[in-house]
Symmetry: C2
Subunit: 758 residues, 2 copies
């Protein structure tokens, strides 16, 4: 007997275009969602009636895998959707961060969730006694695209409920599109799987392709760029009609970090992955099956694993939030809490052990090349288990020695700094990087001249803590093998914070710094650290996406070009006027500011110099918000400029209130902040190479109260290149309503402390 399919005719074709329209609480931001004629999810977004994102598709291409037959899904989540359900709701709540720029944060948004279904039929062959036939079996699976619409932007994410037809899938790539309205100015970094330490480029979107090659510092051994139009987030843009637009992501956990690939008029196909083993973009090795979007569209591009795949997912799960922030006022880009708000609440029961930290450290002189992390030149290479360190001949340039560390402890104690970072304390630095060496550090064994017990005891006796350093050399397997013991050692000696590092290529080989597995690793370390009441400051880890709300022991990240580059050839003076718009959107940066002696040649053989004035350096403690702030220069340099250093002694790094007074990307930033639990205000202003005249209206001060105002400003003839150490310190009494007019030198800035009179 033969049976014909009864269901074959019932294929559901989504002929109708459905649409949801949602406005933000104050109506400034409007989001439209619809399905196009192929059932592709589509959205657009406007701000005060002006388009921000033109109609753009959403979806994910899934990968084929040999385990597909066992239940791993490989049908893409790109099109053929019908709308099953829509839900709209409003949330208005206020929460208190453990640390931050403000004491409380309001989370006020309108949410729109579209439940979408794909239906398909599939032949099923049956064979049994007396009957053979082919049937069309009907399948359905559902996803949710959830939008949160704020007055200053949107977030959206894909959610994958647990269901019979969707349990596991591999991501070939996420295809979230962001179609811009024109040839915006953008502040961008080359999209790269392994480094985010390049200089920011400022160009029109149409100029990205032409500038990519020189934008990449090919000398950086970690370079792994994937496309001539690939850029990183947070991407700050400014439209020709004056809108500030920022694309980034929030709550990126156990998912690959997103880049953006710009479709321009030369794009033939989207890049799907970097050629294996290469570190340079290649002609598209595996083109997407879906039509190319219009020029000026950014398309998400996730960081792959060693096999080129972008993610292994198990439902229930979701992607990170994709964020588009928008304003016609640049200050709002800095004041926005959209990314923190899109993260989950604090996951730690007890956060009493987490505290803002000002620190100095045995670090800068090694970066500059005056002393070393390593201890001996005796060996061409090191095997940790084969060396008796007590018998090794020291080369005499090892910085992390008892005498020097005590000197730093004394300095910290005298100046009210909380902790002292010591890098190079543990064995293994002789050959630590870029040799594919797995067992590179044990995070346990100090060099013979670093008495870990004595130094911690000494520090504690002076009310100071040591700050631990774990350079992993990106050998993550090795770090995870030692992690528990390393944290136990910290607990034993009284360390409560660790700076981690991920220099060099990832081991296991083929993986990338920003892949799903590495993002999982970074968060694994943060969670394990929390169990031990340890704060984490991760360098070279993936750029943050606000996870510090959920895990506030993640007190810092590097994840951008930090002060160290001032010793590697320097960074442009506008660098620090860009970072708050880009890198800092996701969380604080351990920028390690405070270089007072900017000409390194004055005390070392290093020809490099920091492109900043002393007053500009002081400003960074305010304009570059972080609960963890370093005074990075040498104690003896601070002692030479002790009157200026007074500001670093005074400044807080946790705040009840923050008011951005002036801002323009790559030009200048001026911010006033009220120190947590006090009535003291601090104001900082930083500018680019052109200088700036800041107007500081003291509206924020308590009316009727007098404040002792100390102004650390660039001297009249100060200049980041020719006269960086020229500053003035002016003290006066001020009150609310007054306006201070302060001139910032090229590459300069200013800092003000305002203490209420008793």
């Amino acid at each position: 007997m033969k049976r014909k399919s009864i269901l074959a005719a019932l294929v559901l074709v989504p002929l109708t275009v459905v649409a949801g329209r949602v406005a933000s609480p104050n109506g400034d931001v409007v989001l439209n969602f619809s399905l196009d004629d192929k059932g592709r999810p589509t959205y657009d977004m406007s701000y005060k009636g002006r388009p921000v994102v033109l109609p753009s598709h959403l979806g994910l291409e899934l990968a084929k895998d040999k385990h597909a037959s066992r239940g791993l899904d490989e049908r893409s989540l790109m099109d053929g959707f019908t709308l099953v359900d829509e839900q709209t709701s409003t949330t208005d709540e206020t929460w208190r961060p453990v640390w931050g720029e403000t004491a409380t944060i309001r989370n006020h948004y309108v949410e729109y969730a579209a439940k979408l279904a794909q239906h398909w039929t599939q032949p099923r062959v049956t064979a049994g006694e007396g009957q053979r036939g082919m049937f069309e079996e009907r399948h359905q699976r559902e996803i949710i695209i959830r939008f949160r619409v704020y007055d200053d932007g949107i977030g959206f994410r894909y959610e994958f409920p647990q269901q019979k037809e969707l349990n596991y899938f591999l991501i070939q790539d996420e295809r979230s599109e962001f179609r811009m309205t024109g040839d915006h100015t953008a502040w961008w970094l080359p999209g790269d799987y392994d480094t985010q330490e390049q200089e920011t480029q400022e160009s029109r979107l149409s100029e990205i392709r032409g500038r990519m090659d020189k934008a990449v510092n090919w000398g950086n051994s970690s370079v792994a760029v994937f496309s001539p139009t690939g850029v990183q987030t947070a991407l700050q843009m400014k439209s020709q009609d004056g809108l500030y637009i920022n694309i980034h992501e929030a709550a990126c956990a156990d998912y690959a970090t997103m880049h953006l690939e710009l479709v321009d008029d030369q794009t033939k196909a989207l890049t799907t992955q970097l050629k294996g083993g290469s570190n340079a973009y290649t002609p598209n090795p595996k083109p997407s099956a879906y039509p190319l979007p219009q020029p000026f569209t950014f398309v998400s591009h996730l960081t792959p694993d060693a096999t080129g795949l972008k993610g292994a997912m198990q439902t229930p799960c979701q992607t990170p939030w994709r964020t588009v922030m928008v304003s016609d006022d640049a200050r709002q880009m800095l004041a926005s809490n959209l990314i923190l708000n899109l993260n989950e609440p604090c996951a730690l029961d007890d956060t009493s052990w987490i505290h803002p930290t000002k620190y100095c450290g045995v670090w800068w002189e090694m970066i500059v090349g005056k002393s070393n992390w390593h201890y001996t030149d005796d060996f061409p290479s090191i095997k940790l288990d084969q060396i008796d360190w007590t018998k090794v001949k020291p080369h005499g340039r090892h910085a992390a020695n008892n005498e020097k560390v005590k000197r730093y402890i004394d300095f910290a104690a005298k100046n009210g700094l909380d902790e002292v970072l010591v890098e190079g304390w543990n064995v293994g630095w002789e050959d630590w990087a870029n040799m594919w060496k797995r067992d590179v550090f044990d995070f346990q064994t100090p060099y013979p001249d670093f008495d870990i017990k004595m130094l911690n005891d000494y520090a504690h006796s002076k009310g100071v803590k040591l700050l631990m350093h774990h350079e992993t050399s990106s050998s993550t397997q090795n770090y995870e093998r030692h992690l528990e013991q390393a944290f136990q050692l910290m607990n034993k000696y009284g360390y409560d914070a660790v700076k981690t590092g991920y220099v060099g290529d990832i081991i296991p080989r083929g993986d990338h710094h920003y892949s799903q597995s590495m993002n999982n690793h970074y968060l694994y370390v943060v969670k394990e650290a929390a169990r031990h009441h340890i704060m984490v400051n991760a360098h070279e880890a993936t750029r943050p996406t606000g996870l510090c709300r959920t895990y506030p022991n993640l007190v810092g990240n590097e994840s951008a070009r930090g002060t160290e580059y001032e010793a590697f050839g320097g960074s442009r003076p506008d660098h620090t006027c860009i970072l708050p718009f880009t890198r800092l959107q996701g969380g604080p940066m351990d920028y390690t500011p405070g270089i007072f002696v900017t000409r390194l040649k004055e005390w070392s053989n290093n020809d490099s110099w920091a492109r900043i004035t002393i007053a500009g350096s002081l400003a960074l403690y305010l304009t570059m918000y972080s609960p963890l702030q370093m005074a990075a220069d040498l104690p003896e340099h601070y002692e030479k400029f002790d009157d200026a250093f007074q500001f670093i002694r005074d400044v807080a790094c946790d705040w009840d209130e923050s008011i951005y007074l002036e801002a323009e990307p790559a030009d200048y930033i001026t911010v006033a902040r009220k120190a947590k639990g006090t009535d003291n205000w601090f104001v900082g202003g930083k500018c680019d190479e052109n200088g700036h005249e800041a107007l500081v209206k003291l509206d924020f001060l308590d009316k009727g109260r007098k404040y002792l105002c100390t102004i650390y400003a660039d001297a009249k003839d100060a200049h980041y290149e020719t006269n960086p150490q020229a500053y003035t310190i002016t003290k006066k009494v001020v009150k609310a309503g007054q306006t201070l007019k302060i001139k910032e030198a090229p590459g300069g800035g200013f800092a003000i402390s305002l203490m209420p009179e008793k």
Copy 2:
């Protein structure tokens, strides 16, 4: 001023061919070593004047890497060598294994070490005040090729001393050649990066290519074959003139497992790696730069990592030993200790806690499909941290439940078995394999019906231990994250042995079961286990290479097609007459013998059946040496054949003496063994599908002493297919000098116990 190079003319060309000739202690094996006219290391080997390995090249191709400029070497170690030094010495020592086939092992060899140097010049550009010029800089680096020549074969390895010019390198592939003398018969498995559980093929070398496709069980999801002529080691061969030749490796630690690629008359180029993401051999993607050897030459082919590279090395280091065993007597292939001897001595100070173990377990009924590892059908997938197991609805087929485990404990206690394995005790089995799921098990949380404390207490009260099970699902990162806690849990409840499993694809994705990193992982687990006094029995791990000498807590491995396949369609009757020649060369196998009810349909829905008689099953406890032996069938099946089970109760699994009486690969094996510390002898014989008549000369018994002899033999009409349960048990008194003639049925065997009369 311009200077011309003075050194340019001094390039050393190795024009002279040097040669070392070394004979084994009794002169049977002779090794020749030389450098050919291109400075390529070359060796050949003979046995009793007959060639075994014709002149064959040795060397390693190194990989290019982006870090080359930083000191990572990329000049291949293939040719251009000169002989710097030769050393010859003789060693004769005897050592005591912690467990084994004999109480002592003699290690008697002649060693030959050739120190070889490569010289090269390299242009160096100098630029200074008043002088510019190009100089030829002279470089030299050295390696050692070390041979150990035994009376029954050779081992050789490459050693890389620490030196200025050779510190780190990446291996593109090792190119050790083994040129055979003709078209030998070989017992081979398809070379595969991820599985060694195929049926052995018996063919001429020239037939390998033609048979490869059907030799691969493409249904096995782990298949990753790399070449149509790639085979695994240990590779057993027999030459047309009757020499038994075996190629394998010894002491493979932190190095990729070796395969062999046969050059035949169709070979155009050597395969260098499997195509990324594929699981099938592909046309050579990256041909070697060196000339192809002659047909009938095997060339080493290492298992790659996710990027296709074969190893990351840091000097001082060495490769594993490459072994060629040879004899004109097949019994010597089984009696040889060459591979154990080439391993390092025991690395553990205290081995008192390591003991031979006979065990039963909650296992076979799950393999057969009668019950399950998993507990519930409630969820389409499982996230360990999101399920309250006490509220889950059990499906009722969960085998690892209190009642059943107690039944097994009672059975073990009653029958003198040491331990009871319980698989499926811990949560996560609902969706454990092949979904790229990282966090698949926690190795901590029992299912609600497995009372871990009660069951261990109950077992201990009866003098029995439970045997832990850690299926990792090949998610090695997850296992390493939980390892310490998992071992602490074992210590807490009194487990002293763990069976580990590595089913499915390796996570991190792209890695392979036999890569350098995975071999490091397996040994890492063994070392960590030793710290906790835990014995390890690793399934699906890399095939052993004698590391159990160094780490005797590695009491077993699967690493081949085990008894489980009798429930997956069956294995050929000759399978167990091949394994001792191949898989067992490197160390014991947890073959899990002892199936008495071979027709699974009798008690389950499984149509498969074991191709063995009951007497044959008993023989395996002797012919398949292991210090860990399972009685794999169900207690109720043993209770039905309690008289036959008496042999399993009696038989030892640690020995003072072992004498191979008869052997021919794939035909039959007969062995006599004296139980450690006793005067009891046991004899076992196992044959293929053709049956065999064994002659057991009782020469090994103490003269003048009488022994109570119990013979468990196939009944006259026994047959593995039609009458597998027909056996006879005969008791008689025997003495030295007598000969027993025992008929083994097709697929059958026999077992004998010989106890001295009191």
